[in-house]
Amino acid sequence: MSATFLGIPPFPEAARAAVNDSRLRHNLRKATHTIRDKRGAVVTELEEDWERLRSEGAAIKSHTLRHLDHYLEQLEAAVERAGGHVHWAADAAEANAIVTRLVRETGETDVVKVKSMATQEIELNDALAEAGITAYETDLAELIVQLGDDLPSHILVPAIHLGRSQIREIFLDQMAEWGVAAPEGLTDDPRALAEAARVHLRERFLRTRTAISGANFAVADSGTLVVLESEGNGRMCLTLPETLISVVGIEKIVPTWADLEVFLQTLPRSSTGERMNPYTSTWTGVTPGDGPQEFHLVLLDNGRTDVLADTVGRQALRCIRCSACLNTCPVYERTGGHAYGSVYPGPIGAILTPQLRGMSSEVDEALPYASSLCGACYEVCPVAIDIPEVLVHLREEVASGPGHLGEKAVMKGAEAVLGSSHALAAAQRAAGAARNLVPRHLPGMAGAWTDTRDLPGVPAESFRQWWNKHEKGQS
């Protein structure tokens, strides 16, 4: 059984632990600032066309969502015409059952995977494991998370909370158990770590006959699926196996091939801060003699239609998972992704997760408060999702919900909790102030975060390690 978000405490409590973890804070700050600077440069380069691309991207996605039934049927027909098979899954259990059955039909017990948020959301790897099927993650960051029995903390870079030396340790400790061992004398040079991943996965790519992916886009008129990636693990999975199964959320559709003109400009620039990511693969059904000869598309609802029904919250489905809102968020920078208790962390997670899960728990109800409403996320979003607007909308829902008073809900707010006596008491117990790490003070509501930010850190350990101990200590 791999790691799970189940049991992580609501955001305010989880966040408090995270902001006290100085190594985590250091890793996050370094990574998010690196990417912010790169993004800024390649976005500025497009001058005023950036805003035009951004509003066109938003318009394409909004239009698609308003006619989603039409485009779903069009996509289904196009994929089947091109030789693919289309399956529909109303929820996670159904999607997992479909994929498990499809893998079983291939007779294989090993599958390789391309990084995919949808399959993480439905916890596909666990479902496959129960059926005796091992899913091997092949994206470098996903590999690190899988080997480390850790949880992803970022949409694009799931191991963003780890620094190079931690990654080296995980490789040395765990690679041998999963396949080819890490080389002796492995250093923490990123080049050496990438080489170790190459060697570790090479055989597996050449041998494995079934692959599972997600998709960044599904083009309704042509039936084309699109995957953007960097390392070539995606190409390996999409090209070499005999069978390919792609699990894709129903909101991933764009109407026409030409719509990709927009997103292939905005997504790489927003996500890795590059003019273009190293590799993009597109495929339409099956191509005789080239690539997988069996292709299955699993269309996933799993709460998306509930989000669609909310005319304010609906815009969250425009998200193209670039992660720019995470990288720019002052709250995310301090807490990291685990505190959000979901595969979708950061600002987008704060609006998407509670809507997908129906605000059914304390964790979900706290998420709309995991923000200072500073608006930086909206500024950078390449599909112009007004995240603060949705946050406020969801807060109203929480406050007016059964058993909730407005005041009680406000007390769940990050700012209230981090300024509470509990947080101060915890801080006073710890010793030594890392004052040189303190960033500029933030104005307004976010002030509470920076007030906490320069409090001394508890011993360096990951949030998960902390939580495991904490949980054990309590029960």
């Binding site: 308003r66 006619h67 470098l140 990438a194 190459r198 003019r275 993009t280 080239d290 239609t305 029904a309």
Partner: protein, 211 residues
């Protein structure tokens, strides 16, 4: 009992009750954004971007292509080279390297592909602004696997295949074909969000720009 397909579609339709029934399903195509961004002469920009990605680039005159292909393979020390079976045989008239032709009807075994020193192909289109080369599986580009498994990819790009911007590139491509967009050698940004070249795809990309 309704199928999941019907259930999901019914839920979608119920969720969209606020959308007026007469709202057009087809969006008027306006495309208010630029086709390209005036960043300079296409070949110069392409060369600059490719170098930025740490690809090797050479501008070569068309009548010297055979010599340049031979020289590139020799610099690389490539003695066995996979080639798509539709590629121009003249380009290899000067090289000593042993060619391993691959086609959809006569595919090389994966192990064989893993054993060659490199692969030589053309492309369908190249996009200057983003330093992107797109392969579409045409007879001179071959199956997707041949440009993926070998560690060295030598790509011959003709000047007339180069466009300035992404929209122009998208319009030249046929989505029915399997496409591979390549912007520099394989890389990762997963360690502290800095780009490091060389993971699973070819770790060396060399481009001959033919003028």
């Amino acid at each position: 009992m309704s199928t999941s397909r019907e259930r999901v579609l019914a839920r979608v339709r119920a969720a969209l009750a606020d959308v007026p029934a007469d709202e057009p399903v087809v969006r008027p195509v306006e495309r208010p954004y630029a086709d390209s961004h005036g960043m300079g002469a296409a070949l110069e920009v392409l060369e600059d971007r490719l170098r930025d990605y740490k690809a090797l680039v050479r501008r070569v005159p068309a009548d010297r292509l055979a010599e340049e292909v031979a020289a590139a393979l020799e610099r690389r020390g490539a003695s066995t080279v996979a080639v798509p079976d539709g590629i121009d045989a003249d380009w290899f008239s000067r090289t000593q390297a042993e060619l391993r032709p691959d086609g959809r009807d006569r595919p090389l075994e994966l192990r064989e592909l893993d054993g060659v020193d490199g692969v030589v192909t053309t492309c369908a289109v190249a996009i200057a602004e983003t330093g992107t080369i797109v392969l579409d599986g045409g007879p001179d580009q071959g199956r997707r696997a041949i440009t993926l498994v070998p560690d060295y990819h030598l790509c011959v790009v003709r000047a007339d295949q180069v466009v300035d911007g992404v929209p122009q590139g998208v319009r030249r491509l046929d989505p029915a074909r399997p496409l591979t967009w390549i912007s520099g050698p394989s890389a990762t940004s997963d360690i502290e969000l800095n780009r490091v070249e060389g993971v699973h795809g070819p770790r060396t990309l060399e481009v001959l720009l033919v003028e």
